[in-house]
């Protein structure tokens, strides 16, 4: 079962590698990982997506919580939440026909064209995993993909509830 963990931790060198090390040394797989500072510059926030049954995820959550750098851990999958991922994709757009097709797909999926080259377009999309994958499938159908960059999931709880120090 897919799980999304939101982790608030000290913005210290080595803090991220402790988290990652904990997953690898216990043979838990990380599907995606994003990290950045918060409005409080001394704190970072990590979103990790992983797989596991309740027992495994309970252990992961406890182990992460046990790390001295970690302030809070929240399992977003247990609550109503929003998850988003940023996609940047460069595709071939050599002629009018393929440019039109790519633009059409982009419009339908509410992506945006953010750069163009002599024979390529670079597109951006912010969405959930499913929509991003459908978007990529449709682009593949119309043209060839040159480069794909995905940020991995970030997540936040719905409503007024917040993960803060």
């Amino acid at each position: 079962m897919k799980r999304i963990l939101a982790i608030l931790l000290e913005n210290e060198p080595g803090a991220l590698s402790r988290i990652v090390g904990l997953f690898s040394q216990r043979a838990y797989n990380i599907d995606s990982l994003t990290v950045g500072t918060t409005d409080d510059q001394t704190l970072s926030r990590i979103t990790i997506t992983t797989h596991g049954d309740d027992r495994v995820v309970e252990q992961i959550t406890k182990q992460v919580n046990k790390l001295v750098d970690v302030l809070k851990v929240l399992d977003l999958t247990e609550m109503q939440h929003i998850e988003r991922e940023l996609l940047l994709v460069k595709v071939y757009a050599r002629d009018e026909q393929s440019r039109a097709a790519v633009t059409r797909v982009c419009d339908v999926f509410q992506g945006s064209i953010i750069d163009m080259g002599k024979q390529s377009y670079t597109l951006q999309m912010v969405s959930g995993k499913d929509k991003i994958e459908s978007f990529l499938d449709m682009l593949r159908h119309e043209t060839d993909l040159i480069e794909v960059v995905r940020s991995g999931t970030v997540g936040i709880g719905r409503g007024d509830k917040a993960l803060r120090s």
Binding site: G14, G21, Q59, K62, Q63, K66, V68
Partner: protein
């Protein structure tokens, strides 16, 4: 104006403020400034080892016997990596330790400079926490935090990396020790949740077949007296893990002996048949549970531990209580005393009757009629001659299990062994650490011909500091436990478990300036022990030739339930 100090002096000042009396270490390029600062003071004594691994085990033995933080100092690179085994050993057994490691100057970090390794990275999976100290000003705060983390909550080793430039003797700073350590991300639970305490008490008082299963946490938290009080007030049978021996006195009538792989039959039978298990500071290690799927299927498990990750890690706890044992035991005891419910004494009588039956099988008996000396009889004689008062530090192997089984430990912190990691080479340096802490006490290292050779160079350190430990080596000319497994599980094929060219240990001891005594036959044993234990001003190395074919029994049957055991060769319980 305040007096100012350079980085090295700040380290020393901070350690003095933290009441450090001993540092175990070995110098090298990156920490020479610090050694110079240590040289110029007399509050902290530095013990120069012969190998950094031994420094970590010495600090570990010191910490286990005193309850204080053991301190290690090593240089960067190989000095630091030599500490890794000792750090892992301390981590597995939750021993408070601070390892100060040198590092190349900040401007060279990451350049593959001479004697550089990323020790914080190397040790990350085996420390409670680690610090890269980057500025001299922060040294006192970092050290105060390191000590606080090492000994609070679930204790453990902490590594502090000190780059050479911040130890620079030419730059001076104020010294200010933080008064209170507050870390917003670190708040170990102290008090057990009242609801859980209530549930625990109702389970305990409702039990017909209760067993108290206490682990190393009892020793680490200094709650042996509270445990004894609880066990006595309930008249409960109690078993200790290998790490918890001495938690309840080995001679207490309610003590069932150790449980687990080489535990007693009565302890393991009681666990398997219990209806309620009160687990205190124990982590359901696989050397205890055997096959987790078959572990105590009918028991309600109440699990008290300061570390939430230990709870329901391998065995599901029905009533988890997270908190410090001292506080939780107090909560439990007062709730039990105040409760209107009382334990069912007639059911308990039946339970004790059953346990007595298991006890009568005398599972630790052994046959000493043959010509060769049995390892068990050596341990029992050592127990007699020391009145059960000695600190016993063991290495890892058959001798470790024989010592655990046949030397009943009266007190916590009297039994020092590498339980979690099973580190051969631990015994001698750990014994030395204990001897540093308690120079006038009898400190014994029970070892074997395999283990002792893993850190035998420390005989030299013993001479330098007059650490007159007694080394009792049960010499079976082989790696006994490996050989036992090969006998039992590998068709008797002794692949690489035979020691073909053992040194003459007596001459070796003498070469290092100690006394060596060799015992070949049973008729020499008593006299040799008497002679050895009458010598107090020298280290004595007893090389005792024992029956190499002896196995450690009882032994759990592989992948069986907790009480499925071999009692003797080919005899099942």
């Amino acid at each position: 104006m305040n007096e100012q100090y350079n980085g090295s002096q700040l380290v020393v000042k901070a350690l003095q403020a933290l009441d450090v009396k001993y540092i175990f270490g070995y110098p090298g390029g990156s920490v020479l400034d610090l050694y110079d600062a240590l040289f110029q003071q007399s509050e902290i004594e530095h013990i120069l080892v012969r190998h950094e691994q031994a420094a970590t085990h010495m600090a570990d033995g010191f910490a286990r016997s005193t309850g204080e933080v053991g301190v290690v100092l090593a240089t960067s690179g190989p000095g630091a990596t030599n500490c890794v085994t000792g750090i892992a050993t301390a981590y597995m057994d939750s021993i408070p330790m601070v390892v100060l490691s040198g590092q190349v100057p900040s401007n060279l970090i990451g350049d593959d400079a001479f004697q550089e390794t990323d020790i914080v990275g190397c040790s990350r999976p085996i420390v409670k926490h680690s610090f890269n100290c980057r500025h001299a000003e922060e040294i006192p705060t970092v050290l105060a935090k390191a000590f606080f983390l090492a000994k609070s909550g679930r204790p453990g080793p902490v590594v502090v990396e000190l780059p050479k430039d911040i130890l620079n003797p030419a730059q001076f700073f104020d010294f200010k020790m933080p008064e209170n350590i507050e870390m917003r991300t670190y708040n170990p639970n102290v008090k057990g949740h009242p609801k859980q305490i209530k549930k625990a008490v109702s389970a305990i008082l409702g039990a017909k077949k209760l067993v108290v299963y206490s682990g190393g946490g009892i020793v680490l938290s200094n709650t042996s007296l509270q445990l004894t009080q609880l066990v006595e007030s309930l008249n409960a049978p109690c078993t200790n893990t290998l790490m918890g021996l001495g938690g309840l006195s080995g001679t207490h009538p309610n003590f069932l002996g150790m449980l687990g792989m080489h535990g007693t039959l009565e302890a393991n039978k009681a666990m398997a048949n219990a209806d309620v298990i009160l687990a205190l500071g124990a982590r359901f290690d696989d050397r205890v549970t055997n096959n987790v799927q078959k572990f105590c299927p009918d028991a309600t498990i109440v699990h008290v531990d300061v570390d939430p990750t230990s709870i329901s890690k391998t065995v599901k706890a029905h009533i988890p209580v997270v908190g410090c044992l001292a506080t939780v035991l107090e909560q439990l005891q007062s709730a039990i005393d105040a409760s209107k419910d009382r334990i069912d004494r007639s059911a308990q009588e039946d339970w004790w009757y059953q346990i007595t039956k298991w006890r009568e099988q005398n599972c630790l008996s052994f046959d000493a009629s043959g010509e060769k000396i049995k390892p068990q009889e050596v341990i029992r004689k050592v127990y007699d001659i020391t009145n059960g008062e000695a600190y016993v530090c063991s290495d890892v192997g058959q001798h470790q299990m024989f010592a655990a089984q046949h030397y009943p430990f009266k007190n916590p912190r009297q039994w020092i062994n590498s339980g979690g990691l099973g580190t051969m080479g631990f015994g001698l340096p750990a014994a030395m650490g204990v001897k540093v802490a308690f120079p006038s006490s009898e400190v014994i290292c029970v070892t074997g011909d395999g283990s002792i050779q893993m850190n035998i160079q420390e005989l030299s350190t013993c001479l330098q500091y007059g650490l007159n430990v007694k080394i009792v080596s049960l010499n079976n000319r082989s790696l006994g436990m490996v050989r036992q497994w090969q006998d039992m599980l590998y068709g008797g094929r002794h692949a690489s478990s035979y020691m073909e060219s053992l040194p003459d240990f007596v001459k070796l001891a003498e070469a290092y300036g100690h006394v060596g005594i060799k015992v070949d036959t049973r008729d020499q044993l008593d006299e040799a022990l008497e002679r050895a234990f009458s010598i107090n001003d020298r280290l004595v190395f007893l090389d005792i030739c024992v029956d190499e074919s002896e196995h450690v029994y009882p032994m759990q049957i592989k992948l069986g339930s907790v009480d499925e055991m071999w009692l003797k060769k080919g005899v099942k319980a």
